[in-house]
């Protein structure tokens, strides 16, 4: 009987992780493929508009075009962080693997997009401010938030997959999301030099093509962010299932530890 149980669970795990053709799996795979294609097309469209249609900004020059990917990358970081928050909260409440996988995928995307923000921003600042980095409130809070998600990913990578480690990581995931409103309101509360082109009360983007490029940037990074979160979450879920089956196989003496 134990062998039957193991067979059944392993078959399920292998089918799902290897993407074997179940009807539901095929539908999910097709939806994911469509998402990836849409993300790739929108990224190409954004690059085209930024390179060939958007006019050069009058005071900063061509370096201002970093903005059309820097801001959407920050938004995708928020997206990953929000997924991590809900995944972490769900895991603490329900304790199931899908919530944990969503939290892990969200945190990994938050780190990747956070790295994009924290490198593209200083390259823009080098031209606009004359320095790569300044301890501006928004820059500082953004960096601290990314460090929280780096801590989450490091914890999940090196501290094992025990219940305590996963709960501790979930607490970090919730703490990281608490930083998001602080980043957003830091400019208003504490001032600083970071531009407020979108949420400020100034003129904003002065040309229709500038608005188009930013909108396309948001669309492409939304699709890219969702595709990356889904792929990482699916991977984490499959890895958790395989690990579970491995443990059962070890317990029954079928494989060595």
């Amino acid at each position: 009987m134990a062998q039957t149980t193991l067979d059944g669970k392993t078959a399920t795990a292998t089918r799902e992780s290897a993407g074997a053709p179940t009807a539901r799996g095929r539908g999910a795979d097709l939806a994911f493929l469509a998402l990836v294609i849409a993300a790739a097309l929108s990224v190409v469209a954004t690059l085209h508009v930024v390179a060939y249609r958007v006019p050069v900004e009058s005071t900063m020059g061509v370096v201002q075009k970093i903005f059309y990917f820097h801001v959407p990358a920050a938004y995708a970081m928020y997206l990953g962080a929000v997924v991590c928050f809900f995944g972490s909260a769900g895991f603490l409440l329900r304790g199931t693997a899908p919530w944990d996988a969503a939290a892990k995928g969200g945190a990994e995307v938050a780190v990747a997009c956070g790295a994009m923000v924290l490198t593209s921003g200083p390259l823009w600042a080098a031209k606009a401010w004359g320095v790569y980095w300044t301890w501006d409130p928004r820059l500082t809070t953004s960096m601290l938030t990314v460090l929280i998600y780096v801590a989450y990913v490091v914890l999940r990578t090196f501290a094992g997959n025990g219940e305590a480690e996963r709960k501790f990581a979930a607490a970090l995931g919730i703490l990281g999301a608490a930083m998001l409103p602080i980043i957003h309101y830091s400019v208003r509360k504490w001032g600083g030099t970071h531009p407020q082109v979108i949420s400020g009360k100034g003129g904003g983007l002065q040309h229709p093509d500038m608005k188009l490029a930013l909108t396309l940037g948001f669309v492409s990074f939304t699709l890219l962010g969702i595709a990356l979160v889904v792929s990482r979450a699916r991977l984490a879920l499959a890895a958790a299932r395989v690990e579970e089956v491995e443990q059962e196989a070890i317990d029954q003496g079928l494989i060595d530890d």
Binding site: Q3, L6, D7, T10, A13, T14, S17, A18, M60, G61, V62, V63, K65, I66, F69, H70, A73, E108, A112, A115, M116, T119, S120, L123, W124, A126, K127, G130, L224, L228, S231, R232, L235, A238, A239, V242, V245, E246, A249, G253, L254, I255, D256, D257
Partner: protein, 95 residues
Amino acid sequence: MQNDAKPAATSDAASTGGAPVGTGATDFKPVTAGAPELQSGEKLLVEAYAVIWVIAFVFLLMTWRRQRALDRRVQELEAVLARAAAGAPAGKAGR
């Protein structure tokens, strides 16, 4: 002799934008009007876009490598289970 040396120094200074060559500098003056760009906007733009896409591709590469490792492990487990189901002694596979 002094009259011969002076025009040469002036000529060097003109070719280097004002700084006399071969003499110890006694002061540094900031460039004010018509200052050349200290940072090239084009270079910074290309660097920023390159960094963004390198991060994206490294992330995808890591996902792909993890998926491959997982697939290999699934194949090993399937082989062990197939042998066990066939009644043969299960060949033990390390993790």
